[in-house]
Every structure is written in structure tokens, then in C-alpha cells.
């Protein structure tokens, strides 16, 4: 038989088809596929989490100042999930992405598991575990040694806030030890409190009754991006989206942030000029007579021109604002069209319960005193103080009735030394402390004296202060840096000795009122699990350091342990805290004639400072002073601003792996920060979307990626804030650039605090 090509092919095809069809009737391929998939999936290292009884344990989240109540879901002894606590007045069941990922901190590699002593060079990451006795003994010995050498003032203490028992134990330690060099992280909330001190005669925290306000005028506050207590603020913002709510948010901000996008109206403004707009609004309200006449005429002073004891005439707030801030002038400064200035003022005045808010972004930067006073003046003009939907005063959460500290002569003497940062001296008479100047001061060869020791509790100055390079160089000059906290953050990484704290899932501690919250609200952290590692409640650490030092220092810490201190400090409040997880009290809602603690019992539009620091009378008449970042316009034609949001934790706690994962590729690309630039500007500078570029400022230079974003103004670059860590783990360290490394100090001319994170910049394709 002759086999031609055609037959050969058809037999071949038939056999192939037959084989293919035939194989369907045998189980072999299916069996093989099945086996293959089972084999490829049965890796012994795929975890099989243990089962067990499910329970829920309450505590308070401490990862930001927001103070949310959380409920931790446990399976037997393991925590498996953190959820918002239902019914908690701060967050009622809601939770933010950072709080939700807290277990990655509790169980994660950034935890400090035992006291550590530096073994390699500073910042090298080589550590030797030591016992608690050794660690505390070393701290006490070093500090006592300095004290005996009459160098107590060269030891500094740095804490993240002035409220709560643990912060105050460290501050007390500083006082009885005898150092004037205490640093408390400075926020916009502190600046507003200063404004209240001057205008109302009482150092108080502002409480904003935003739930009952119908017109929220935000001067750059990241309402849904971490300003105040995040979940509470998002709830407030969501009220706006409720059909028929009649509530609106107006966002004044240079960049189209999430808050600006969600606001009823976004007013685009030049960076750092918010105070001028606030005063422009005051101008229109006064000129058109829209203010609250009863408040202004009966309960305020220095609104009209006034004459002092030596017959010098002074401009009142009214004339100053009418002369200096007409909408045409405001338009020139802020870039907001004059018609819009007038319209905003009329809207604000016409609302039933308007309120104006201060503090850019998350409020982590101090801002200017006049900025805060201008915003508060706007609230005062409309009589929004102690009114529903307005602003109230809260005392700081430091009312613990502690016995007066025992001060020996040594402490009294060294407390009188000038502070290293110059706060309280003739140069900065209005500041009690200036943490933002730390880098500059330490780098200054002519500094008054070197710092020999630094004790940091839960703050991260190495990351959060401007001029990172100077701060890091300064830290490395200090002989003995001690970090007390639960995570290996940037400051911990630069320390000589690390004293690990419990996390908020392992300890008893009070959590002070969330910033801006409408009532006093002290939360309670509770041990949800037994401490996992060889850590110690930081308050206990402070007490033990004091006791180990003996003498008058030890005498000022009469408590046997931290728990006793907490119980005595909270007093009757503790019962509520244990039952509900928090204690609450309404703010003073008294009428205007009892509301103000100034000498005249009136609200002061232009407070006068009487202090030996001012030979001439110093009058704090709110005004706008232009901030000029370093660098020439020709060399650095762009303006660099930071942007903040809830996916970027930028304070003493950094992003968890989950949070880094949520970052869009318009914030972080591989290991590089992504900058936002207006498409027109980007093209003019030869950049392309996603391309690499070199961003430089007078303070530094970094490689970034480019994202064209029409939500930033021309000639502006926006950089995400919260990246560029040197501490933590591989899931965060080394990713992106720290904004602080690129901006120089931009001091408020009145107080000296850092006014804003703004720098001049240039960008070229890489």
C-alpha cells in the first residue's frame, strides 16, 4: 500500500483528534491535574492558625492622639483583629487604617522586645540586650553623674505631648532633676491654646462642637486627613453628604486634598497665606456690620482704638483690619479673588452656627500665633465662643493633684539656666520651648552649652523635626541618648539605650482628650493580652529612674508603682474609665460675662503682653507677616509643599506594612517618593509622568518620581509627608523621602515656632 502524504496527514490528524477525545474518557489527565494542584498547594509553611474561643477585649488606641475606643477580637490568647468600639463617643464603631493595623505593631518586628544597649556605631542597628536593672541603673548613674557635676541643665527631656500621666511623669522628672531643657512636640493645637491664653486669659485647649455646626470654614485643616480625631472628623464630614443636612465645609488650601475634594467648596490659596484671608474675612464682616454686635460691644476689648496709661494711641482690631486687609490687598497676598473673599465672609456671617478652624494638614506643624489669633478673631466676631456649634475651652488633662515636687537647691539653680533653644529669652520671649530649633541649635558651634544627655519618651524628633540632617548630626553629638517607647522608630535607631514600653494592648494608661474634641474625654488603655516581651510601662520606667537616683528626685515620686500613680491621678474618674473605657465631662458652657479670664473679664482682640522681656509695650494685634523660605527665586523657581493623609502616618508612629500597602503608586513607586506637579509646569521642566527626577531645595536633594496632578497649582510641587524613615523595618525604612529633610526652618516671627513646611525648590529630569 502506498502511503501518500495526504493519507499520512489524515491518519496523523485522526489519531491526534482521537487521542484528545479519548483522553477525556480516561480519568488520567484530571487525576494528574488534581494531584498537581494538591501537590503545589500543600506546602507545610502555609500557616494554619489555631482555633479557639472567640472573645472581645476593649482598650483605647494610642497610635495617634485621636483616642478612639477599640475592641480587640481574640482567639484564645491571640489578638486577631482590631475593630472600633461600638458606642464610644469618639469613634462609635469606626476605625482608621492605622488603628486597624495595630496588631502588626503588637506582633511585628518593629517592636522593641527587651532593653537594648548600642553595640555598634550610632544608628548602625547593632544592639546588645541588657536586663532592666542594668538599663535603669545606667540611666540613673549617667544622670546623677551630670547632676553632681552641676550639669543638670545639659540633660534634656523630649516628650510627645504635655498631657496624660506618663508624659507628666517624665516632665516632673525633668523638673526635680533640674533641667530647663524640656521639649514637648509642638502642634497647631498648642498654638491655638496660646491664642486662647492671650485673647481669653486662660491657657486652654479649643473644643470644637462641629457636630452642631452648619458652616465649617477650615483654614487648611485636613478634616478627613488626620486633623483632630480622625474617625470623629470623618463622621462630621459625612454629615455634609447626608441629603438635606444643610451643613457645609469650606476648605481653604493650596492643594486639592481629599478634604478639599469632599468639601462643599474649595478655595485655592497660596501656601502660607491663610492668616491674610482670615483677616480679609474679618474686614468684610466688620465693614458690612455683619458681626455679633452684642459680643463685640459688651464682651470684648481693643476692638476700637484705645489709649494706654501713658496716653499713647493704639489701633484697635477694627481699624487695623479695615486699613490693612481690604479684599483687594488680600487678593494680592493669597491669590483668592476679591469677590470670593467678600462672598465667603458674607456666607460665614449668614450661617446659623459657623465655626472657623486652624491648623494645616494634621495640625502637626505649629503654624503662626497671628494665624491662630486671626482665625479665632473670626470666631469671636460672630460670637461663636461658648455657643452650640462653636468653640469652647477645655483645661489640659494634667489635673492630677500630685504633691508639689521636692526641689533641692541644685535643681532650683540649674532650672534658672537659659534653655539651649533660647525659648523664654529676649530673643524668643513668647515661647516656652522651641523643639523645632533643636537641629539648628545642636548644629551651631556657638551654642550656649552642649547637651550631654537626652531622654526621649514616645516622640520621634529624628523624624518629625525640620532640617533632619542637622537633627541627626546634633543627636550624634549628644553623649547619651535614651529612647523610651514601644517601636524602633528613627529616634530609637539613633539612641544609645532603648527602654521598651508596652503597647496600648498590654498596659493600663490614661489617654488624654483627643485634639479638638467637643468634650473632655479621657480614655483608658487596658491590657488585652499579657505583655508579650520584656517591656515596661513607660510611667513605671520614669518612676524607677527617679527612685534609682535617690535623694530629692526619688522623694518627688511617692508612688510605689505606676498603677498606684494612675489610680491616684485619675481619682474618682477611674471608676467610669474602667466601666466604659473613658471618662467624659462637658466643657464650661457659661455665658460670655463669665467666660473670659482676662483682667477685664473681656475677650481681647489685641492683647497686650506685660513682661520684663518687652521694654516697650508688646501688643499682639493679629496681622499677616509673609514667610520667606530660603533660596532665590531664580535658583529655586518652585514652591515645595507637603501633603498629608490618613494612609501616611507621620508622627511618632510610622506606617505599618498594611498601611504602606494602601499607598497608591502616586505616592510611592518602588522605593521612591512620588511628587505631584501641575502637568503644565511638569512639561515646562521636561518631566514626564512616572519619570525619575531630582528634586532639590536649599536644604537638600532627593531622587523622586513624577506624577502629573492638576490639583496642585502651577509652579508647585507636593511631596507626601510620612515617608523616608531610617528606623522601623524593611517594610517602611528607606522608602521615599522625609519632607523634613528638604525644608529649612521657617520660624514664626512672633514666637519662633516652625510656621510651616514650605520650601523653595527646583526639579530636573534624572
Amino acid at each position: 500500500m502506498k502511503l501518500d502524504r495526504r493519507t499520512f496527514l489524515s491518519i496523523g490528524a485522526g489519531a491526534a483528534a482521537g487521542g484528545a477525545v479519548g483522553s477525556l474518557f480516561t480519568p488520567l489527565p484530571w487525576k494528574l491535574t488534581d494531584d498537581l494542584s494538591i501537590w503545589s498547594q500543600n506546602w507545610p509553611w502555609t500557616p494554619d492558625p489555631a482555633r479557639g474561643e472567640v472573645t472581645f477585649a476593649p482598650t483605647t488606641c494610642e497610635l495617634c492622639p485621636g483616642g478612639c475606643g477599640v475592641s480587640v477580637r481574640k482567639v484564645k490568647d491571640r489578638c486577631v483583629k482590631i475593630e472600633g468600639a461600638d458606642g464610644n463617643p469618639v469613634n462609635d464603631g469606626g476605625i482608621c487604617p492605622l488603628g486597624s493595623s495595630g496588631l502588626q505593631i503588637l506582633y511585628g518586628p518593629t517592636r522593641i522586645k527587651t532593653p537594648l544597649k548600642r553595640a555598634g556605631k550610632r544608628g548602625e542597628g547593632k544592639w546588645k540586650p541588657v536586663t532592666w536593672d542594668e538599663a535603669l541603673g545606667e540611666v540613673a548613674a549617667k544622670l546623677s553623674d551630670l547632676r553632681q557635676k552641676k550639669l543638670a541643665h545639659t540633660a534634656a527631656v523630649y516628650v510627645n505631648g504635655g498631657e496624660g500621666t506618663v508624659n507628666n511623669l517624665f516632665l516632673r522628672l525633668a523638673t526635680v532633676y533640674g533641667t530647663p531643657n524640656v521639649f514637648v512636640s509642638r502642634t497647631a493645637w498648642d498654638t491655638y491654646a496660646d491664642a486662647l491664653l492671650h485673647m481669653q486669659g486662660e491657657y486652654a485647649k479649643p473644643a470644637f462642637d462641629l457636630e452642631n455646626s452648619d458652616y465649617i470654614l477650615s483654614f487648611g485643616c485636613g478634616i478627613i486627613e488626620g486633623w483632630g480625631s480622625p474617625v470623629r472628623m470623618i463622621r462630621v464630614n459625612a454629615q455634609v453628604a447626608e441629603a438635606g443636612s444643610g451643613k457645609t465645609v469650606v476648605q481653604i488650601e493650596p492643594r486639592l486634598s481629599n478634604t478639599a475634594a469632599k468639601a462643599g467648596k474649595w478655595v485655592a490659596i497660596k501656601p502660607g497665606t491663610e492668616a491674610a484671608l482670615a483677616l480679609g474675612l474679618c474686614h468684610v464682616i466688620i465693614r458690612e456690620g455683619l458681626f455679633n454686635d452684642e459680643f463685640v460691644s459688651t464682651f470684648s476689648q481693643n476692638f476700637e482704638d484705645w489709649v494706654d496709661e501713658v496716653h499713647t494711641e493704639h489701633r484697635g482690631f477694627k481699624r487695623a483690619v479695615l486699613e490693612d486687609f481690604p479684599p483687594s490687598a488680600v487678593e494680592k497676598i493669597t491669590g483668592v479673588p476679591r469677590a470670593q473673599v467678600a462672598k465667603l465672609a458674607r456666607e460665614f456671617a449668614a450661617a446659623k452656627a459657623p465655626v472657623a478652624l486652624f491648623g494645616t494638614g494634621k495640625g502637626e506643624e505649629a503654624g503662626t500665633l497671628y494665624g491662630a489669633m486671626a482665625v479665632h478673631a473670626l470666631n469671636a466676631l460672630m460670637g461663636r465662643i461658648n455657643q452650640a456649634g462653636g468653640v469652647f475651652m477645655l483645661p489640659p488633662d494634667a489635673d492630677f493633684n500630685w504633691p508639689a515636687p521636692a526641689m533641692d537647691a541644685l535643681a532650683q539653680r540649674s532650672l534658672r539656666e537659659n534653655r539651649i533653644d533660647g525659648a523664654g529669652t529676649d530673643r524668643f520671649p513668647l515661647a516656652s520651648e522651641l523643639p523645632s530649633r533643636l537641629g539648628e541649635v545642636l548644629a551651631d558651634p556657638k551654642k550656649p552649652y552642649p547637651l550631654h544627655a537626652l531622654l526621649v519618651y514616645a516622640a520621634d524628633p529624628a523624624f518629625t523635626l525640620p532640617e533632619t540632617e542637622k537633627v541627626l548630626a546634633g543627636l550624634s553629638q549628644i553623649d547619651f541618648v535614651v529612647y523610651c517607647g514601644s517601636q524602633m522608630n528613627d529616634t530609637a535607631a539613633m539612641a544609645d539605650l532603648v527602654l521598651p514600653d508596652h503597647t496600648c494592648y498590654e498596659k493600663w494608661q490614661d489617654v488624654p482628650t483627643p485634639p479638638g474634641f467637643a468634650r473632655r474625654h479621657i480614655g483608658l488603655t487596658r491590657p488585652v493580652v499579657k505583655p508579650l516581651f520584656s517591656t515596661m510601662q513607660a510611667g513605671e520606667t520614669a518612676i524607677r529612674i527617679a527612685k534609682a537616683m535617690g535623694g530629692p528626685v526619688a522623694e518627688s515620686f511617692p508612688w510605689s508603682d505606676y498603677i498606684q500613680c494612675l489610680e491616684e491621678s485619675m481619682g474618682a474618674r477611674l471608676a467610669d474609665m474602667k466601666e466604659n473605657g473613658f471618662w467624659e465631662a462637658e466643657p464650661d458652657k457659661g455665658p460670655w460675662y463669665t467666660a473670659f479670664k482676662t483682667r477685664t473679664r473681656k475677650f481681647d482682640f489685641a492683647p497686650r503682653i506685660i513682661s520684663p522681656a518687652f521694654p516697650d509695650t508688646k501688643i499682639l494685634l493679629p496681622t499677616y507677616e509673609a514667610l520667606t523660605p530660603a533660596g532665590s527665586e531664580s535658583g529655586f523657581p518652585l514652591t515645595l509643599i507637603p501633603y498629608e493623609n490618613l494612609r501616611l502616618a507621620a508622627q511618632n508612629v510610622g506606617d505599618t506594612p498594611f498601611l504602606v500597602k494602601t499607598l497608591p503608586d502616586s505616592s510611592l513607586m518602588n522605593q521612591e517618593s512620588v511628587v505631584e506637579i501641575n502637568p503644565a509646569t511638569g512639561k515646562a521642566f521636561g518631566l514626564r509622568e512616572g519619570g525619575a527626577a531630582i528634586l532639590s531645595t536649599p536644604a537638600g536633594e532627593t531622587r523622586v518620581r513624577v506624577h502629573f496632578y492638576p490639583g496642585v497649582a502651577k509652579n508647585t510641587v507636593a511631596l507626601p509627608k510620612g515617608l523616608g524613615h531610617i528606623g522601623y523595618d524593611d517594610y517602611l525604612a528607606g522608602k521615599g523621602t522625609n519632607v523634613n529633610a528638604l525644608v529649612g526652618l521657617l520660624p514664626d516671627p512672633v514666637t519662633g515656632h516652625n510656621a510651616a513646611l514650605i520650601a523653595r525648590a527646583r526639579i530636573v529630569p534624572a
Binding site: S37, Q41, N42, W43, T46, P47, P49, V75, R78, V80, K81, I82, E83, G84, N91, G93, G94, I95, P97, L98, S100, L103, Q104, Y107, G108, P109, I224, E225, P230, V231, I234, R235, N237, A238, A241, A243, L256, N258, A261, W266, N645, L646, R647, P657, F658, L659, V660, K661, T662, L663, P664, D665, M669, N670, N678, A680, P710, G711, A713, Y731
Partner: protein, 269 residues
């Protein structure tokens, strides 16, 4: 039991997400990852390979400063019921291993990891990019396995995973109901992790078949001034996730047909 089952009402779980309320904070993404043992890697910036059952997208009106506007859009699995609601969702129709299936009892599209052999047809079929492939074995840094939940199996290399509407929570709720001799669940007894976490209360979850549930009410009668839409409705996938918006540009971006987009791409706009 059988009698009870046959009288059980058919449920159709779905979601309504109010984009006016959504702030893009990312709490839903993290709450989802924490609930469902979703792994993470050192570099998650390649978003095609980053496993996010819930992903928040950013929409832009593409106008220049200061008229630009943005809107966030959270995207879980849409749990499509397909044309006519017969359960022929795009992914279910193509899966050769019955590793993904449509439940007519709940309207939830399942994913059974041990059945999946990683052919990824479903990923190609899903028009929402809601499915993710495990290119690597999951790895947790030392100590972090402690927080893994026993309610959700950990996935292995070579399988596809996606949002389950937290089906294990449904199972738990039904188990509890059963011990109390009930066959029906209250609205709040079964809620997904993202719904529970959302600080803006932008996500509402429930049974679209149950008129008493808020989702059903929002779908049949959106609040004043808001319009509802679903993603790629024109594909007849019949998704069970509805969105609400009051912004016209968001609505028109959502309603833009695939053909229109293709035409634009061709003409280079």
C-alpha cells in the same frame, strides 16, 4: 431542618457605597486585609501584583487647577449574578475547576482555594480586576503569624483569591442563629469587615432582596440629589455593588460605554 431550609428566603447580599461620603482613607482596605489574612510584601507598589480584595481607586475630572476634582471609588468583588441574574458571572462561567461558584442562596461568588489550580481564566474574565493571583507564597515577618485568623484559610502560591463579602462572618452568624433555632439573620448580624470599619459609614451592606434592609431601600430609592450606578453595567454582569454620587462628572465617568472609551483611545484623546 430540611423543611426550614426549603422555606428559607433567597438572599442576595449586596453593597451600596456612597461616594460622596467616602474619604479615600483606606480603612476598608486595611480592615479587609486584617480580617482575611491577606499577605503583604516588602514592595507593594506594583499594583497589578498587589493583592487588595478591596481596592480604592481614584477618579479625576481631569480639569486643571483650581477646577480639578477627585473622587475615590472603593472596589470590592462585585459578586456578579450575570445576565438575568442566573448566576453566570464572568468568572464562574470560565472556571474549569469549579473553584469559584455562584451561590443562589446568598448571591455570593465563592472562591475555593484548594480547588483552584491557578489557570487564571477568571482573572482574564473579570472586568473589574477584582481577582488576584498569588505569585509568591505568603510570608509574614517573624511573630506576625500570631494575628492570623482561623476563620479564613491562608492562601498558598499558585491560587487566585478575591473578596468573599466576608463569607466566614455569614457562616458564623448562621451558626449562631441555628443554635438559637432561627433561620433568618438580623441586618446587623452579618456585616462585612470593610462596612464595619468605614469611619464615614459610606458602605452599607445587606440583603438586596429584603425590603427592610437599608441597601434595598437605598437601591430602590436613592437619597435626594444622589444618583445610583453600577460599574460597567453595559456588560450585563449584573454586579451587586451599587454606588451613589451627587457629582455629575462621576456619573458620566461611570456611564461611559466601553465603545466610547475605545474610540477615544483610537483617536488619541
Amino acid at each position: 431542618m430540611e423543611a426550614a431550609e426549603s422555606h428559607e428566603k433567597q438572599k442576595m447580599y449586596g453593597m451600596v457605597i456612597d461616594l460622596d461620603k467616602c474619604t479615600g482613607c483606606g480603612a476598608c482596605m486595611v480592615a479587609c486585609m486584617a480580617e482575611n489574612n491577606v499577605p503583604f510584601r516588602k514592595d507593594e507598589t506594583d499594583k497589578f501584583k498587589s493583592i487588595t480584595w478591596m481596592r480604592v481607586y481614584l477618579l479625576s475630572n481631569k480639569k486643571d487647577y483650581p477646577y480639578s476634582d477627585i473622587c475615590y471609588l472603593p472596589r470590592p468583588c462585585m459578586h456578579c449574578s450575570g445576565r438575568g441574574g442566573h448566576g453566570h458571572s464572568p468568572c464562574v462561567s470560565v472556571c474549569p475547576a469549579v473553584a469559584t461558584d455562584y451561590s443562589h442562596a446568598t448571591g455570593i461568588v465563592s472562591q475555593i482555594y484548594t480547588r483552584c489550580f491557578g489557570c487564571r481564566y477568571c482573572m482574564g474574565a473579570c472586568p473589574y480586576h477584582a481577582r488576584y493571583f498569588n505569585w509568591w507564597d505568603p510570608k509574614w515577618p517573624e511573630g506576625m503569624k500570631e494575628y492570623l485568623s482561623p476563620d479564613v484559610s491562608c492562601r498558598m502560591r499558585g491560587v487566585v483569591e478575591k473578596c468573599s463579602f466576608c463569607f466566614h462572618r455569614y457562616q458564623r452568624a448562621m451558626d449562631l442563629a441555628f443554635t438559637e433555632q432561627r433561620t433568618e439573620l438580623e441586618e446587623n448580624e452579618y456585616q462585612t469587615s470593610c462596612t464595619q470599619a468605614c469611619p464615614a459609614n459610606a458602605i452599607v451592606f445587606g440583603d438586596l432582596n429584603n425590603e427592610e434592609h437599608q441597601v434595598a431601600q437605598l437601591v430602590s430609592e436613592p437619597p435626594e440629589g444622589k444618583k445610583k450606578f453600577r460599574l460597567l453595567e453595559q456588560l450585563d454582569t449584573n454586579p451587586k455593588v451599587y454606588y451613589l454620587t451627587s457629582k455629575d462628572w462621576v456619573l458620566s465617568a461611570a456611564n461611559r460605554s466601553v465603545k466610547e472609551e475605545a474610540k477615544k483611545a483610537e483617536s488619541g484623546h
